[in-house]
């Protein structure tokens, strides 16, 4: 069989649709997971010891076990205790929790990079802790770790391919499927790789734009 990209082009819409699912699950898990990550970080610095232990344990567990294992537990394990999530929700749950553990550490670095003088100045103006965090600390902290957050976003996007093992119809799963139907392995996975690459490049580019327009000061 000769290499013929033309033969697989008709399947491009199928691939793009699957890519859409990859992007959807990544974007949702990144944003929900990042908000959760802020709370995990706050838990780590809480005055209540049990909250600190809980947050610390959460980070340890999710950063030191493979996402694949976490996903198996959610999709195949949870039904045994009566929790049934479909492939999409399972993947979303796994990626969200995983992302929360990683971003909690990134936010910690970012928040510690904000000069304490700014926090004191806000306090001296009578602002409460929550106001100081929201209006004074958050934006400079995010700017300082934007490259790390972007990297995490891209890694998360590439990891969304694990959804294929529980038959979520995302891009990798669609590629495997088309590969079996057409037997054009080289063409199918080359195009798939390019789609992953281009999407990652768009994410990296958006981050640089955000840096220039949202975080310029």
């Amino acid at each position: 069989m000769t290499i013929d990209f033309g033969a697989v082009l008709p399947y491009l819409p199928v691939m793009l649709k699957a890519l859409g699912i990859s992007i959807e699950v990544t974007v949702l898990s990144f944003f929900i997971g990042s908000v959760l990550g802020i709370f995990v970080y706050l838990g780590r610095r809480s005055g209540l010891a049990p909250l600190r232990w809980l947050a610390h344990g959460f980070i340890e567990v999710f950063r030191n076990t493979p996402l694949l294992v976490q996903l198996y537990l959610i999709y195949f394990g949870l039904p045994e205790v009566g929790i049934n999530l479909n492939p999409f929700w399972s993947t979303l749950a796994g990626m969200t929790l995983n992302n929360a553990a990683y971003t909690a550490e990134i936010f910690r670095a970012g928040i510690e990079s904000v000069p304490n003088g700014l926090v004191e100045a806000a306090g001296a103006l009578g602002m409460r802790f929550s106001q100081t965090f929201r209006f004074i600390v958050l934006k400079p902290a995010i700017r300082n770790v934007l490259p790390a957050l972007t990297n995490q976003f891209i890694v998360l996007f590439l990891f969304s391919s694990v959804g294929s093992v529980i038959s979520l119809n995302e891009l990798t799963s669609a590629l495997a499927d088309l590969n079996q139907r057409t037997l054009r392995t080289l063409e199918i996975f080359t195009i798939g790789g390019i789609l992953y690459y281009l999407t990652s490049a768009v994410i990296a580019g958006s981050s640089r734009l955000a840096e220039r327009y949202l975080f310029r000061w």
Binding site: E120, G123, A124, I136, R143, F215
Partner: protein, 245 residues
């Protein structure tokens, strides 16, 4: 009839671990009075100032400021800080906000002032510190002297009853010190109650009603500037002044 003091500190003791930094400080600032606090580095001036708006806790003694008692653990520090403006050596302007937003944020979030009113107040204050043309600029684009004037205006936007200054000109290039001192002098002339930690003896001499000399955690002597500068009573005061003047 004498009005109660704006700031009254009695027998303040403060330690960081084993290090006793304040060893029984008594200090008083009356309404409309300007008190300058001088003394060698490490003598506890910043710590005393920070105790007055509850940025630091102290172990023993009493402080009342603008009618708030800081001694009880039940005092709401945020309510105290609404009445007490503070200006830091390192400016601490919010770098991610326009100058105007630096001035509007706390009045809107803490005092719940409307946006329109906060803006009006902010512009009036920028006028006062000579920075109207910088309203829509990020503070990182400003010189140190300009940033410190923004910080002063930001504190004034809360309409405080007392202003605390902690070496407001020590981090500035010499050529921008004057513009900050001018703003502070104008504030004093308007009758603001002020406590100023400073090494600017010219300013203290001209503007202060009283000067406190602190060394090693105690107030060594205090009095009108002419007495302290021209006729100090203690060797430690003399030694300090001979080094700095």
């Amino acid at each position: 009839m004498s009005t109660p003091a704006m700031i009254l500190a009695q027998d303040i003791h403060k330690r960081f671990g084993d290090l006793e930094v304040l060893k029984g400080i008594d200090a008083e600032v009356d309404e409309r009075e300007v008190v300058c606090l001088i003394g060698p580095s490490g003598s506890g001036k910043s710590t005393l100032l920070r105790c007055m708006n509850a940025l630091e806790k102290f172990q023993k003694g009493h402080i009342t400021i603008c009618g708030h008692d800081l001694t009880g653990s039940k005092t709401n520090v945020n309510e105290v800080r609404r009445d007490v403006g503070m200006v830091f050596q390192s400016f601490n302007v919010f770098p991610h906000m326009l100058v105007l937003d630096n001035l509007m944020l706390a009045p809107m979030k803490v005092l719940k002032v409307s946006k329109a009113e906060a803006r009006e107040r902010a512009m009036a204050l920028l006028e006062k510190v000579g920075l109207v043309d910088k309203a829509k600029v990020y503070p990182t684009k400003l010189s140190g002297g300009q940033q410190q004037r923004v910080a002063i205006a930001r504190a004034l936007a809360m309409q405080p009853k007392v202003m605390l200054f902690d070496e407001p000109t020590s981090a500035l290039d010499p050529e921008t010190v004057g513009e900050v001192l001018e703003v502070m002098k104008a504030l004093a002339e308007e009758g603001m109650t002020m406590m100023v930690v400073t090494h600017e003896m010219g300013f203290a001499r001209e503007v202060a009603d009283r000067v406190l000399f602190m060394d090693n955690g105690v107030v060594v002597e205090q009095g009108p500037p002419r007495e302290i500068f021209d006729n100090p009573q203690h060797d430690r005061t003399r030694a300090f002044l001979s080094k700095i003047l």
